[in-house]
């Protein structure tokens, strides 16, 4: 197992370098960050040159990348458009997005799995058909539509929650945004759980559990669920990275100052350090989440062995 983890970590290095270089290249190829800094006014050539030098922009792309990576390793992600360091921007944005992701994951686990179990055990019944249709709707309607609709209904009309989240973004204000963020994944979790449960209810080992005279709840929880949830757990694990990076739309709708919001601002202002810095961290989160999922898989299913 230890060797496997080390190998996986080593494999991450080229992936990490490749993906960050790609982002770096794309962002820097996009436009002139110095011009963007001045907006509509034309910058004074001498000043522009000075800034260019300060930002290490007067070197080749490769040299710039190396310089950037070197700085990252000493914890310097550069300066954002508003003069703040990108590191401090991350310090305020990531906790917010992590809270939002936690809310979303909790929705996925509780609602998604519950619906999946109920429909999986009542295949073909009205509940099953109803929920299945609902998941189809949720999957096919874009997040910004569901987001604005739910915001309008619960935030503006019913006033159950604030339509816009305050900068500190406490958990209670993140419930509705978390639900919006979770919806699509939640629909997938429901379907995945349903299929998995349906497959396993007919499994021989479930029949054995019944033949052993175990009470129904024990058959379901300890035997049926324990096996059926393995693919679901791994899906949710992989989803963590996707949710954190994919919150851009949701964070815009509810004005949440998280990762998605900062990333959006960075792109809008053509601020390379912000974009590259945030994406780099997201890539890391994604890679680590994937490794954790694979390890978790081996814990949940003893038949999986890593060497």
């Amino acid at each position: 197992m230890g060797r496997y983890v080390i190998r996986r970590l080593l494999q991450m290095i080229p992936v990490f370098i490749g993906s960050t270089f790609l982002i770096f290249f794309m962002v820097y190829a996009l436009g002139d960050p110095v011009a963007a800094l001045f907006g509509d006014r034309a910058p004074d050539p001498a000043t522009a040159q000075q800034i260019r030098h300060d930002l290490y922009l007067d070197h080749s792309l490769g040299a710039q990348y190396l310089h950037y990576m070197k700085n990252i390793f000493i914890g310097d992600f550069g300066t954002a458009f508003n003069g703040e360091s990108v590191t401090s921007l991350m310090g305020s944005a990531f906790p917010v997005t992590i809270r939002l992701t936690i809310v979303a994951i909790i929705f996925e686990i509780i609602i998604g799995i519950a619906l999946g179990v109920v429909t999986g055990m009542r295949r073909g019944k009205p509940v099953d058909t109803g929920v299945l249709l609902l998941t189809l709707v949720v999957i096919s309607v874009p997040t910004f539509v569901t987001g604005y609709v739910l915001q309008y209904v619960f935030g503006v009309r019913l006033k159950w929650t604030a339509p816009s989240v305050s900068p500190s973004a406490p958990f209670n204000e993140l419930i509705l945004p978390g639900l919006v963020l979770a919806l699509v994944s939640l629909a997938y979790v429901t379907r995945l759980t349903r299929t998995s449960i349906a497959e396993n209810t007919r499994a021989d080992y479930v029949r054995t559990a019944v033949a052993k005279g175990l009470p129904r709840h024990r058959v379901i929880i300890r035997h049926l669920l324990r096996n059926s949830l393995i693919p679901v757990v791994t899906f949710i694990g992989t989803d963590i990275g996707a949710l954190m990076g994919g919150a851009i739309v949701t964070e815009r709708i509810f004005n949440i100052h998280g990762v998605g919001f900062q990333l959006y601002q960075g792109i809008l202002r053509n601020n390379a350090p912000t974009v590259v810095g945030f994406v780099t961290v997201l890539v890391l989160v994604f890679l680590l989440a994937n490794l954790l999922v694979d390890l978790l898989y081996a814990v949940l299913d003893p038949r999986i062995r890593y060497a």
């Binding site: 080992y205 033949a211 052993k212 324990r226 096996n227 038949r303």
Partner: protein
């Protein structure tokens, strides 16, 4: 002729068990009917099965694939897939009580504890993500309320009883880490855990290597003797049957077509279907000859032929076979056959055969 003259005149309602000791069978299945309500129609999988097992007795259930052997066993255990399966008629009398009229909770307590089942494929029948120790210990934890630690000790004891080497270490392992034979021993251990009165073994050795089949069968027979359990052995292997069974029930299209003590049936079957089965066993003395096979296919359970279900395939079939369902004729005290021409069939074999 007999010592007790009083009962002599009365017809015995039940065939005497071979031991002759007990009057009441441990399990008595009476006129059991099971059907599967599927999209294609109603499949009549079990159509009036009668069989009984006494304590310490082994009943072998024989029959082609799809004849309803497993479904009958599942109905007896109460683990029928329902829906689509439904018991439409009959009684399953176990230790004097009809299980089909029992409440779910009462029935559950009998299941696993008083009657247990051994399945064919131990790999798929054991839970892949729980250790063998947990799965064995679960019997004691659920039925006897033992603690985790006590249950584990019991699990080790059980594994030693079915002669799994290094039980103390292997108790932590998972089913996929065991060989086929060892896995089936685990299944047997699980069935034996609470020392049930009845064990139903559904083709317990079919999935195994020929070399370990005998070992597993011997173990099962030995444990049965030791605990004086009733054993229902569902099998295709007529060789095994001759060795361990006391009596045989032959199933065809969801019915018992012949039931008999084991030696009688080998000597002279009273049903053409049984005859066909026996003739299709490879025999050492007839090596080189083409193997006999019953012609045709088992009937479609959605459309069982009228009259005797076996008539399209039967070499002896007459007009009456296509119209009248043969009742279960009593051949003698211990034997019965569902064939209009059981006498003729029996005589074929009883009479010295033409060729030497």
């Amino acid at each position: 002729m007999s010592t007790s003259g009083a009962t002599d005149a009365v017809m015995a309602p039940e065939p005497e068990p071979p031991g002759g000791g007990e009057e009441r069978p441990l399990l008595d299945v009476r006129n059991l009917h099971v059907e599967f309500r599927t999209r294609e129609g109603i499949a009549k999988a079990v159509n009036g099965v009668n069989y009984s097992v006494h304590a310490g007795e082994t009943l072998a259930v024989l029959g082609e694939s799809g004849s309803g052997k497993s479904v009958t066993a599942q109905a007896v255990m109460g683990i029928l897939d329902s829906p689509p399966g439904f018991i439409t008629q009959g009684e399953v009398v176990f230790q004097g009580r009809d299980l089909l009229r029992m409440g779910g909770e009462e029935r559950r307590k009998i299941r696993g504890a008083r009657m247990a089942m051994i399945f064919q494929d131990a790999l798929s029948s054991l839970n892949p993500v729980l250790s063998v120790g947990e799965q064995l210990g679960e019997m004691f934890r659920v039925h006897q309320g033992l603690s985790r630690k006590e249950a584990r000790a019991k699990a080790i004891e059980l594994m030693e009883r079915v002669r799994i080497p290094a039980a103390r270490e292997r108790v932590k392992q998972y089913p996929h880490q065991f060989s086929g034979g060892m896995r089936q021993r685990v299944m047997i251990a699980m069935a034996m855990a609470l020392e049930p009165e009845l064990i139903i073994a559904d083709e317990p050795t079919t999935a195994l290597d020929v070399t370990v089949q005998a070992q597993v069968m011997d173990l099962l027979a030995e444990l049965q003797r030791e605990y004086n359990m009733g054993l229902i052995l569902i099998t295709h292997d007529l060789g095994v049957v001759a060795d361990v069974a006391d009596k045989i029930a032959v199933m065809y299209a969801g019915r018992i077509v012949e039931s008999s003590p084991v030696h009688d049936i080998y000597r002279a079957p009273a049903h053409p279907y049984t005859r066909g089965l026996l003739d299709s066993i490879p025999r050492v003395d007839l090596k080189g000859q083409e193997l006999y096979a019953i012609k045709g296919l088992p009937p479609n359970l959605l459309h069982i032929p009228p009259g005797c279900a076996f008539n399209p395939r039967c070499p002896r079939a007459q007009e009456v076979c296509r119209t009248d369902v043969p009742p279960l004729y009593r051949v003698n005290q211990e034997r019965a056959s569902a064939c209009h021409f059981w006498k003729e069939t029996l005589d074929d074999d009883s009479a010295p055969s033409g060729d030497a």
